[in-house]
């Protein structure tokens, strides 16, 4: 999928690569302004009340349209995503404490902590800030995000100038190809809950309690991932024999799933990609046990392959 804006984006990205690098103490070329915007963006998605209409595009598929609402009351927030096209499903999350900050957001709230050689997310991406396009009638600031290694995608993120809310994200793969795009088409900050939508399925979003695993154990033995790209952290606590592990660097997220098989599998690998999501499955045998390892996430396939390759039993 290539858009007319791609060439403009590539010029911007090139300019970003070639620009004299801003200096920050202890962490060369970390752009403090960009880090402040990321920090603000991470807070606003939890702390601001808004509702709006978001479009989602990837590949040749039809554009999806959804309504998102986020309301803050006291020290808790509730949010809702309602599909206006397609399946007509709704995802809700209620009573999310504002002080519940998951690892991905902790990684984005580092603007005060980048010092003494610790670069945080700025060690894995280059950032720069320019003026953004108008999105949903709002003026935006654009944060250009280009990965420093080949294990992650790049992003163009347009943030609301006033609140820092993320209004548009373009995910960019190798060769400046646009992989997917989220964008607000309409946005308001009033507290009226929209209604009148016909909903088919309501799903209550899960919420792991930090430090406690609610995950069923799926494997007889404990396993681990020996390698993830630097900067990725586990998103939650899992028993060693759970079926899933998820990792984030603050912007990208991938999950590793391991299945024990009851018979030999021909060693091999397969992959599919939808938008920015890669699914990579690898059949192998570790210490005589046949396994299927699958990595699902918004990372390039080489990342998925290398993570899958590093799965091992805990001895």
């Amino acid at each position: 999928m290539r858009y007319g804006t791609v060439s403009r984006l590539s010029i911007l990205l090139l300019a970003l690569l070639l620009s004299p690098l801003a200096q920050s103490s202890g962490c060369p070329d970390a752009d403090p302004e960009a880090l402040r915007w990321l920090d603000k963006m991470s807070r606003s998605v939890h702390q601001v009340s808004y509702h709006g209409v978001v479009t989602y595009q990837r590949g040749e598929a039809d554009m999806q349209v959804m309504q998102v609402s986020h309301f803050v009351q006291g020290d808790r927030s509730s949010e809702k995503l309602t599909q206006l096209t397609g399946q007509g499903a709704q995802v809700v999350r209620v009573d999310h404490p504002l002080d519940c900050v998951h690892p991905g957001h902790k990684l984005l709230r580092m603007s005060e902590h980048i010092q003494g050689g610790y670069c945080g997310i700025a060690g894995h991406y280059r950032f720069s800030v320019t003026d953004g396009d108008r999105v949903a009638g709002r003026k935006t600031v654009r944060v250009l995000v280009s990965p420093r290694d080949m294990y992650r995608f790049g992003y163009v993120m347009d943030l609301d100038r006033k609140t820092g809310l993320l209004l548009k994200t373009t995910t960019i793969g190798r060769g400046n190809v646009v992989l997917e795009k989220f964008q607000f088409a309409e946005l308001s900050f009033n507290k009226r809950m929209p209604d009148g939508i016909e909903i088919e399925v309501v799903h209550e979003a899960e919420h792991p309690v930090p430090g406690v695993s609610t995950e069923p154990t799926r494997l007889a033995n404990g396993w681990r991932v020996r390698w993830v790209p630097s900067g990725f952290l586990a998103t939650d606590t899992q028993p060693a024999n759970a079926g899933r592990r998820t990792f984030t660097d603050g912007l990208a997220v991938f999950s590793v799933f391991v299945e024990e098989l009851d018979r030999e599998i021909r060693p091999g690998e397969g992959m599919v990609r939808e938008g920015s999501t890669t699914s990579y499955s690898r059949g192998l045998s570790i210490s005589g046990t046949p396994l299927l390892v699958t990595v699902v996430g918004e990372v390039p396939v080489n990342t998925a392959r290398m993570v899958a390759d590093s799965v091992d039993w805990v001895r």
């Binding site: 021909r266 091999g268 699914s279 699958t294």
Partner: protein
């Protein structure tokens, strides 16, 4: 194996390695047993080789490929040439990644060695990569899409792709739950789930 080598190897598997990365890998592959075993495993997975014979699969940086690299008038080429003509070196990189040698006698031996155990290749007494004595061995060009490979099973490939597609459907919602909590988009990652289950 250093992070840099790991990255170069990953690039090679995706046919994206540049000449510099390729040279770095070739230089290190004889000394670094982890690099060697990882390289062999990646190739094994890619080629969907069957059974335990995989443990005897050896990489051959065949002389022809080596000539192709060394023989390119590297010294004479300007930096500009190197920067603006990367395509040729990609092609070389791809063919190196895909060149495997199967020891003829070894194919019939099955000793059940676990190739996926760490260091199995290094410990298994297999001759070092790049030093393969091709006497009695069959060179197989396992380049993607080439039909010349008897070991390559198109059916297995299709099956694996189908497996990856099914697993994406199966796991995407569980992944989205965690992406929604750990990326800056709120609940929007659920838009990637084709059919949301209750």
């Amino acid at each position: 194996m250093s992070e840099q080598l790991r990255e170069s190897l990953s690039a090679l598997m995706d046919d994206e390695a540049n000449e510099l990365e390729l040279q770095r890998l070739l230089k290190q592959v004889n000394e670094d047993s982890e690099l060697r075993s990882t390289w062999v495993r990646y190739n094994a997975a890619r080629s969907a080789m069957s059974g335990q014979e995989v443990s005897h699969m050896q990489l051959d940086i065949s002389s022809r490929v080596r000539e192709a690299i060394d023989g390119s008038p590297g010294e004479a080429r300007s930096l500009r040439d190197r920067l603006f003509r990367p395509v040729a070196s990609f092609a070389v990189a791809a063919s190196v990644a895909a060149t495997v040698v199967i020891g003829g006698q070894q194919l019939t031996q099955i000793n059940g060695k676990d190739i996926y155990a760490p260091g199995a290749i290094a410990a298994g007494g297999v001759s070092p990569v790049g030093m393969v004595n091709s006497l009695g061995a069959t060179t197989v060009q396992a380049s993607y899409g080439a039909e010349a490979v008897p070991m390559l099973q198109p059916a297995a490939r299709t099956a694996y792709k189908e497996l990856a597609r099914q697993r994406m459907q199966m796991y995407i919602q569980e992944h989205a739950e965690h992406a929604a909590l750990n990326s800056p988009h709120g609940l929007i990652p659920f838009a990637r789930v084709p059919e949301i289950r209750e």
